[in-house]
Symmetry: C2
Subunit: 169 residues, 2 copies
């Protein structure tokens, strides 16, 4: 098992795409993550794995709060902005944000925002696993059309398969 084997295999695990945000000492930070999971409903808790080299990692750890914004298929440009090191200061200028409970910026019009307080940080090699209790939630969008990540690319869900698109007698 080499790191390349690992990456080859992991490209085959599909995931929703989330934007993780935090506010530390009055400054907003963010990163795109696919390693987000439900852990337990009581108390409502999720986990996020973040690379220790990510610029936002230490801010999440220091502030002890984060907001998980689950992206819709209309948010590929948002994901692009937060995946690039360019214009880091201007990342938050393009979209609408509001605070829910912790003060971390929640993205208006994403599928759901989970506003969280970090309860435990598990250090594991290159990454931290943040166990975070959800203290506020906003749900947007009637239709649930997620942005997905698979095989190194963003993907979309197909339309529910009704199939017949055109027929001629």
């Amino acid at each position: 098992m080499t790191p390349d084997d690992f990456k080859l295999g992991m490209r085959r695990l599909a995931a929703g795409v989330s934007l993780i945000t935090t506010t530390n000492r009055g400054v907003r930070h963010g990163l795109v993550a696919t390693a987000v999971n439900s852990v337990t409903a009581d108390p409502p808790t999720l986990l996020v794995c973040i690379n220790k080299n990510a610029s936002a990692h230490d801010h999440v750890a220091e502030a002890g709060l984060l907001c998980v914004n689950v992206l819709s298929d209309e948010h590929e440009a948002v994901a692009g902005r937060f995946s690039s090191a360019l214009n880091r200061e201007q990342r938050f200028d393009h979209d609408e944000w509001r605070a829910i409970a912790t003060g971390a910026p929640a993205l208006v019009n994403c599928l759901v925002s989970f506003d969280c307080e970090v309860r435990q940080q598990v250090h594991y090699g290159s990454h931290s696993i943040f166990l975070a209790e959800i203290v506020g939630l906003e749900v947007w969008c009637e239709a649930i059309s997620p942005l997905l990540y698979l095989d190194g690319k963003y993907r979309y869900l197909g339309e529910p398969q009704s199939s017949l698109l055109y027929a001629t007698a």
Copy 2:
């Protein structure tokens, strides 16, 4: 934040579907999970969240090994068999399995099987988070067509969007 709020929000987080298997004292066990994530490439490690009430939980903990089999869109019936308490003894009779490294059953023809040794078990309320080092891997299927779970239902990826299906001048 109630458990119902939590569930409502989590229905909006899409995920790939995996079949987690183990072998304990010569008996095979399995369960379907969506809470599977990459943790770190060095050493290659993933995590799996498993409800402590799941019949396979204690077997994974006791044996200290598990195999994550990432399901394709042809595996909805397999997922169904392992999600039901019916015919638990016969669950492994319908498909082809083989051992990779640990002896846990790997599903032939899934997207990828990660065969793992558990390195750490984090207890968190109703669930355990198993941090597992990948010691063997098998990759199947040229096309990567995952089984997805969203909003309480299995879903499939759409065809890559080439879009124009029919036009009349």
